[in-house]
Amino acid sequence: MPVQIRYLAITALMLGALGAMGADYAPDFDPDYRPVPSSDEGGLWYRVDKLEADVRNSPHRVRDTELNDYLAAMVCALAGDFCSSIRVYLIDNPHFNASMAPNGMMLVHTGLLLRVEDEAELAAVLGHEIAHFLRSHQIKQWRNLRDSAASAVWIDVGLVMFTGIYGLAQMSTVGAALSYNRDQEREADLYGLQLLAASGYDPGAAPRLWTAIAEERALDASKESRNPFFATHPTAEDRQQTLHRAALAYGDHRPDGAAGELRAMLAPHYFAFMRGHLQLQEYEQTEYLLGKHRRLGYPEGQVAFFTGELHRLRKAEGDGDKAIAAYSRALQLPDPPPDAYRELAYLKLKDNAAPEALQLFQRYLAAHPDATDKAMIDYYIESLGTQIHE
């Protein structure tokens, strides 16, 4: 679709230029705004208020107070006067995402926390979400869709008389709505950048994050093709380029990204979050993330353990040996997860290394006396003991 690509490129250029000129975005409404219940916006808020009630008591929420307070404080710093209008919920979901509802409900996925290198990169995404909120993007999108679809219906009524085919004009509104959506994403990127810079974060963090996301997505083995006409968001590459140009306009300052604080905050949750990530079975991306985590200084024993998990689960050629090597390395490091003993024990069992397996199973139970699979492990220990002594 060359026309579409050209259109995207032109829009990107225009918005990039706008950013470079230092476009100044302002909120659409005052703090603590609530639409009147009889309005279309009131209806939209009613809908998401109900959704928020579900989110509030969802078992998928990560309820750790320290982590939630940390995110809320960041949102407050970025949103300024609108701090009290936004509520952040951390959701246990390994995908890279965050979202904003028109009533001020913000959802942050744990998969986002696993990917940002420092606080500034996290702030870049939070700023983007806040920008959607401050510019009332959702109600604008609804009105645009409703009104353009209504016009299309009448065009179709005319067309059906001449062509006998109904629905041609309405079909074209899908593409138009998605294009409108991508324009809003670009605005949120640039307004988000403005909030980032205003809060004293390095604006360069935004394009840096998108460079990393583009790199990670390029490794996607599923090779899902993205049709630019039907995409809700611009591509990672497109966003990286636009943000890079716009960030330059804010000058060349690189304050500390507060990487250490974020890492310290996440370290106690790293194991649980990465466990969720492994379930995605996106092993190429996992490898990329583990490389990043090793560099950032996440708990070494855990990073090595998850490297073992990656190879054990992927089962490609040579992965068995790599898994053994990674688990063994994890067990040399401080505070390895007890699971490393068990997984290595099973692999040793497969290799007919019974004495080693026995010892590892025993060390697993010593490190994790309340293991839920204790009965199973006891059985292995007993049968291996008999086998060795025969």
């Binding site: 009889s38 939209l44 995402n97 986002l112 993007h137 679809a149 209504a150 994403e185 993205r226 968001h233």
Partner: protein, 254 residues
């Protein structure tokens, strides 16, 4: 109206909302029937024994009124919805107390995700929508042969019995839409051209759960192109249709 939130990333593999897609499928299957017959009420009833002075707990209703736009999009109406719930509560209380039942409104805002009460509300919605889709709707389940109605919330429902001091819980779910001016104009325009364009629809169900067993003992649904919930008199009629043939209740149906 779409429920999509604004996402940061356009993450390619987001799970679609299963609840939303169930609703869409449901509206389709039931409203096809709704086109043919203006009123569609169907009852499942295994209520037995002496019901006089039974204590019934009215659970928080799930109701939403919307405008059907010219292009067929639904725009939720918060004010209408709030009012409708008030009218319906009043009407339900009236009907049940006149019939001699002890009806009470359950007001519980339990936010603890581990709470059985919060989970029961969600479970009921899933069960109710499943009854509509698989028992009443055309998508029959191979595991439920011969039309046996044995849907249940299970024994955790007993916790609701203790918390609400009741024998039964009544759940109500309604989606009610009204044609916009543009939609009406389109209906007329297309009718002149010889085509039918559906207008607003009323879709809902009420179900009674025995809090001793968790079994759904009474179930009634509504799927029609008429009906209104925007004033007390109209809401009374809709509630009457929802409670059609409920033991002991004899409201007039228009």
């Amino acid at each position: 109206m779409h429920k999509r939130l604004y996402t940061a990333t356009g993450g390619a593999r987001q799970r679609p909302s299963t609840r939303l897609s169930t609703l869409c499928a449901l509206a389709l299957t039931l409203l096809i029937a709704g086109c043919a017959t203006p009123t569609h009420v169907k009852k499942v009833d295994s209520l037995k024994g002496d019901l006089s002075s039974a204590r019934i707990l009215l659970m928080p209703m799930d109701v939403e009124l919307s405008i059907l736009t010219a292009a067929g999009l639904l725009e939720p109406q918060a004010e209408w919805t709030g009012n409708a719930m008030g009218y319906m509560t009043k009407s339900l209380e009236g009907n049940f107390s006149r019939a001699g039942y002890d009806i009470r409104v359950h007001d519980n805002n339990d936010e603890d995700p581990a709470s059985d009460l919060a989970q029961l509300r969600k479970l009921h919605e899933a069960v109710g929508l499943s009854v509509l889709t698989h028992h009443i709707g055309p998508l029959k389940l191979p595991t439920k042969k011969g039309g046996v109605f044995d849907w249940t919330l299970g024994t955790p429902a007993q916790q609701l019995k203790a918390a609400g001091a009741a024998d039964y819980a009544l759940f109500v779910f309604v989606r009610d839409s009204y044609s916009s001016g543009g939609r009406v104009a389109l209906q007329i325009g297309m009718a002149i051209l010889g085509a039918h364009v559906p207008g607003g629809q009323q879709l809902g169900f009420a179900s009674l759960v025995d809090l001793n067993t968790g079994n759904v003992v009474w179930f009634n649904y509504l799927g029609r192109g008429t009906g209104d919930l925007r004033n007390q008199a109209a809401a009374d009629k809709t509630v009457a249709a929802l409670l059609d043939e409920f033991p002991g209740i004899h409201p007039a149906i228009d």
